[in-house]
C-alpha cells in the first residue's frame, strides 16, 4: 500500500495538429506544461521532481530534455526520463504516481510529448523492425521482399484486426462505427487533432482500403502534441483543486516480444490480438485498487486504440466484458458519451496520436472526466472510477491505471 495517497491536481495539453512548424520541440512542450501549471495554480518552484518521456526515433533527438527542459521549469530540479515506445506516456504517468507514492517527492510534474513533424514517422517505427530485419538478412531473406511488404504499425495492426475479428465476430461495420464514434467525440474536444463532427459509419466505409480490413478512416493521424500532468499527495491536491482525481493504482505488464515478422505482422511467435499482458496488467491494477468487479465498478474507459478494432479488443482485454462481447456492447450504445460505460470520450488515439504523449492523454482524460472538466464532451453519468490504458512495444507492452473520485481505502 502506497505511503502517500496520490492524486492528479492538474492537466495541461498543447494544441494537437499534424505540423507545428512555428515552435521547436521544447516550445511545443512548454504549451502543455504552462497550461498544467496554470490549471493546478502552481509554479515551477513548487515542483519537487519532473518525469518526462517521448519516443525519440520520431524527432531524431536523443534525450531532448537535455536542451529543452529549461522551457519546462526543470532548471536545477530532479528529472527522470522514462521511455517505453507507444506506452511511454502511460509509463511517464506511472512514474509520476510512483514518485509521489514513494514518499520521496510531494509534487511531481509528468510530461510526455511527440513532435512527429520533425521527422519521418514510418521511418521511426520501422526502426522497431530493423534489428529483426538484421536477423532475417542473416537467414537469407531478400531485403526487397521486406521492403515490398512494408512494416510499421499498420503492418502489425492489420494482422491483429483480422485475428480479433475472427475470434470476436467483430465486422468491418463495427470498425466504421468505432471510427465514427471517436471522431464525433473528438469534435467536442478542443485538444483533439482530427475533428469530424457528424461523421457517419457509412462515410468511414467509403475511405480508402489500406490493407484489409483497415481503411484510412480506421487509422490514427500523426500528431504534434504534448501533455503534462501534475501528480501530488491527496492532501495537497485537496488544497489545490475542488475535486482531485485520485490514482488508485497503476500496473504494467510486458509479454514475450513478437518478432516483427517478414510482413511486419508481429505474428511470428504470438497472436497480436491475444494481449495477455493487458489482461494481467488490468487484473493487477484492479486488485491494487480494491476493485472486485470492474464491469460494475468502472464508469469510463480510455483504451489506447490507434486503430478502430483496438477500442473493442482492449475493452475486452481490460476485463470490462467477456471476450467477443465488445462489438455487441458497441451496438447497444453503451460506449457513447451518454452510455453506461463511455469509451474514448476524448476521441481516442484514433483521432489524436502524438505517440509519446498518447498513453498519458488516456490517463489525463480519465482524470479530467473525474474532475468534471471536460466541457462539451463531459460524459453524462457521474464518473467515480475510470481505467486508462496504453499499448506498444513489439505488440507486447501494456500499461493500465485506475483513477477515482475518492482515495484508495
Amino acid at each position: 500500500m502506497a505511503k502517500s495517497e496520490v492524486a492528479v491536481a492538474g492537466v495541461g495539453l498543447s494544441k494537437h495538429v499534424s505540423k507545428r512548424r512555428d515552435v521547436n520541440i521544447a516550445e511545443l512542450v512548454w504549451e502543455a506544461v504552462s497550461a498544467c501549471y496554470e490549471n493546478a495554480g502552481l509554479k515551477p518552484k513548487d515542483i519537487d521532481a519532473f518525469i518526462t518521456g517521448n519516443m525519440p526515433a520520431f524527432e531524431g533527438v536523443n534525450l531532448p530534455e537535455e536542451w529543452g527542459a529549461g522551457h519546462w521549469g526543470a532548471y536545477g530540479k530532479p528529472l527522470l526520463r522514462i521511455t517505453t515506445g507507444g506506452t511511454t506516456g502511460g509509463s511517464v504517468a506511472h512514474g509520476g504516481y510512483y514518485a509521489v507514492a514513494s514518499g520521496l517527492y510531494d509534487t511531481v510534474l509528468a510530461i510526455a510529448f511527440e513532435k512527429q513533424s520533425d521527422g519521418n514517422s514510418t521511418a521511426g517505427l520501422n526502426t522497431v523492425a530493423i534489428a529483426d530485419a538484421a536477423a532475417q538478412f542473416a537467414l537469407g531473406v531478400d531485403p526487397a521482399f521486406l521492403a515490398a511488404f512494408g512494416g510499421g504499425a499498420v503492418g502489425v495492426a492489420v494482422y491483429q484486426a483480422s485475428s480479433y475479428m475472427k475470434s470476436s465476430g467483430c465486422t468491418t461495420q463495427h470498425l466504421d462505427k468505432v471510427a465514427a464514434l471517436c471522431r464525433n467525440n473528438a469534435a467536442l474536444n478542443p485538444y483533439s487533432h482530427l475533428k469530424q463532427p457528424g461523421l457517419t459509419p457509412e462515410e468511414v466505409a467509403k475511405t480508402v482500403l489500406l490493407q484489409h480490413p483497415i481503411r484510412f478512416g480506421h487509422v490514427c493521424p500523426a500528431t504534434d502534441g504534448a501533455c503534462a500532468m501534475l501528480f501530488t499527495t491527496g492532501e495537497k491536491a485537496r488544497r489545490l483543486v475542488d475535486k482531485p482525481a485520485y490514482v488508485l493504482s497503476v500496473a504494467s505488464c510486458s509479454d514475450e516480444a513478437a518478432m516483427v515478422g517478414i510482413a511486419g505482422s508481429g505474428t511470428t511467435n504470438v497472436d497480436p490480438c491475444t494481449q495477455e499482458s493487458c489482461k494481467i496488467a488490468a487484473a493487477r491494477a484492479y486488485e491494487l485498487a480494491g476493485i472486485k468487479d470492474p464491469r460494475k465498478e468502472i464508469d469510463l474507459a480510455e483504451p489506447y486504440a490507434p486503430f478502430a478494432h483496438q477500442m473493442l479488443m482492449f475493452y475486452e482485454r481490460l476485463l470490462l466484458c467477456d471476450e467477443g462481447e465488445a462489438p455487441a456492447i458497441l451496438d447497444s450504445g453503451s460506449m457513447n458519451l451518454d452510455g453506461e460505460l463511455p469509451v474514448c470520450p476524448s476521441g481516442g488515439v484514433i483521432s489524436t496520436n502524438a505517440i509519446g504523449a498518447s498513453a498519458m492523454e488516456r490517463v489525463a482524460e480519465c482524470a479530467q472526466q473525474i474532475m468534471g472538466r471536460c466541457g462539451e464532451r463531459q460524459v453524462k453519468k457521474e464518473v467515480h472510477k475510470a481505467v486508462a490504458h496504453g499499448w506498444g512495444g513489439a505488440v507486447n507492452l501494456n500499461v493500465v491505471a485506475v483513477l477515482s473520485d475518492t482515495p484508495r481505502r
Binding site: 505511503k3 536523443n62 536542451w67 532548471y75 507492452l397
Partner: protein, 380 residues
C-alpha cells in the same frame, strides 16, 4: 532512509571493447547471476527496470527485446532512458510505494553496435549546435575541462594523475577494460591528444557490457544474507551546456545536498569511507570531489595531490578504476553502485579497501555531466 530498501544481489559482465555475446545474452547473464546472488528465483521478482537508450541500441523501444533476458516476462516492467543508476532510483520509488517488494535493475549497452560518439551529438540543441558540427561529448568536455582548470588552477598533470590512479586501480579489477598497473602521469600525457586538454587516456573508453542489481524492501532484505542499505539518494538536472557555468558541477552539488540530507551525512569527508564516481573524463573526478563536498570548492586539484583519494588514502575514490577503466553507457553509474556495495560487503577481491562501512556512488547522464545522481550506501 533507514533500512527501507537494500541491495541484495548484483552482477556485472566483464567490460569488453567488442563482446562476443549479444546484448540480450549479456543481460541474461547478469540477470541470472544477480538473482542467484540474491538467492531468488525469477518468479519472485515484482518489477524490472532496465536502463538503455534507443540510439545506443540502434532501434526504438530498446527495452522491448529485453523483456525475456531481464526476467521481465509477464511482469511489471519499465525502462529509464538514462544511466542505470537512475533505473535503480525508479526501482527504489516502486519499492517505497509499497506496491512492489523485489526489483531487478539492469543497465546495458554495446558500443561495438552503436556509432561511437554519434549518439552523443544527438543530445545537442537540434536548432543550432547539433547542426554546426563542432561539439560532441569529447570536445564539449574539453571545453568544460579548460573552464574548470582555469577557474580552479588545475594543471594537465593533475588530470593525468587522476587517469593514472584509476588505470592503476583498474589493474586489480578483473572486469575492467582499460587497466595499467604501471600507468603514470607521463604515460597519460603522451597518449593521443584529442581535444586539448583531453587525451585518450583521460577519456573513458566506450565499451560493451551489462550489470544488474536486485533491490528489495526492508522486510525481504532483512532475511537476506548481507544487505547493503540505501541510506540516501539525490538527483538533479542542470542547464544546457552553453547556458551554465561549465566550471562547476552544480547539479551534482544539488544532488549531493539532497542525498546527504536524507542519509544524515553532515561531514562527507569524515563520514564516508569510499566513493565510486562516474567520471567520463579525468577532470570530472576532480570536479566531483568538490561537488560531493569531499573538499572545499576549488580545491579538487590539491585534494587529489594530498593522496586522500588513492587506494591507501583515507577516502579512496574509484578503487575499481571508475569509468576511465570502462564506461558502458547506461550501465557505468549502476556499476558504481555495485562497486560501492562490493566494498561494503568486503567482496571486492584484489581492489578491496579495508573497513568500508559507508560509501557514496555516483551516476551521470548527458553531455558535460548535465544530470547527476548519487547514493549513500551502508552496511548493517
Amino acid at each position: 532512509m533507514d533500512k527501507e530498501v537494500a541491495i541484495i544481489g548484483y552482477a556485472q559482465t566483464p567490460y569488453e571493447a567488442d563482446a562476443e555475446a549479444s546484448r540480450e545474452m549479456q543481460v541474461l547473464e547478469v540477470t541470472k547471476a544477480a538473482l542467484a546472488a540474491a538467492g531468488l528465483k525469477r518468479e519472485q521478482l515484482d518489477t524490472v527496470i532496465t536502463a538503455n537508450n534507443d540510439y545506443l541500441d540502434g532501434r526504438t523501444i530498446s527495452n522491448m527485446r529485453l523483456v525475456e533476458p531481464s526476467g521481465a516476462w509477464q511482469k511489471n516492467e519499465s525502462k529509464v532512458e538514462m544511466d542505470g543508476a537512475y533505473a535503480a532510483l525508479y526501482a527504489l520509488m516502486r519499492i517505497l510505494s509499497g506496491d512492489h517488494g523485489i526489483a531487478m535493475v539492469v543497465g546495458e549497452s554495446q558500443a561495438s553496435v552503436y556509432g561511437g560518439y554519434i549518439p552523443g551529438t544527438m543530445m545537442l540543441d537540434p536548432t543550432f549546435d547539433r547542426q554546426r558540427g563542432l561539439l560532441n561529448e569529447v570536445s564539449a568536455s574539453a571545453l568544460q575541462a579548460r573552464a574548470y582548470m582555469n577557474a580552479c588552477g588545475v594543471s594537465e598533470e593533475q588530470l593525468a594523475g587522476v587517469a593514472a590512479k584509476n588505470l592503476a586501480n583498474a589493474a586489480k579489477n578483473p572486469l575492467a577494460l582499460r587497466a595499467d598497473g604501471k600507468a603514470d602521469v607521463k604515460k597519460v600525457l603522451s597518449s593521443r591528444l584529442l581535444y586539448s586538454p583531453i587525451r585518450e587516456l583521460m577519456a573513458s573508453p566506450l565499451c560493451d557490457g551489462a550489470c544488474a542489481v536486485v533491490l528489495a524492501s526492508g522486510k525481504v532484505a532483512a532475511k537476506s544474507g548481507n544487505p547493503v542499505w540505501i541510506k540516501g539518494v539525490g538527483f538533479s538536472h542542470d542547464s544546457y551546456l552553453s547556458e551554465r557555468s561549465l566550471a562547476e558541477m552544480s547539479s551534482l552539488k544539488d544532488a549531493a545536498r539532497r542525498c546527504y540530507a536524507m542519509a544524515g551525512i553532515e561531514d562527507p569527508a569524515s563520514q564516508l569511507d569510499l566513493a565510486e564516481v562516474h567520471e567520463c573524463f579525468a577532470h570530472e573526478e576532480l570536479m566531483a570531489y568538490e561537488a560531493l563536498g569531499l573538499c572545499a570548492a576549488g580545491e579538487g586539484g590539491a585534494f587529489f595531490d594530498s593522496g586522500t583519494t588513492s587506494m591507501d588514502g583515507s577516502l579512496p575514490v574509484n578503487a575499481s578504476g571508475g569509468a576511465l577503466a570502462a564506461n558502458v553507457a547506461c550501465a557505468a553509474g549502476l556499476a558504481r553502485i555495485i562497486e560501492a556495495a562490493m566494498q561494503i560487503r568486503g567482496e571486492a577481491g584484489d581492489h578491496q579497501v579495508k573497513g568500508v562501512r559507508t560509501a557514496v556512488a555516483h551516476g551521470q547522464t548527458g553531455i558535460c555531466a548535465q544530470e547527476n545522481i548519487i547514493y549513500v550506501l551502508g552496511g548493517e
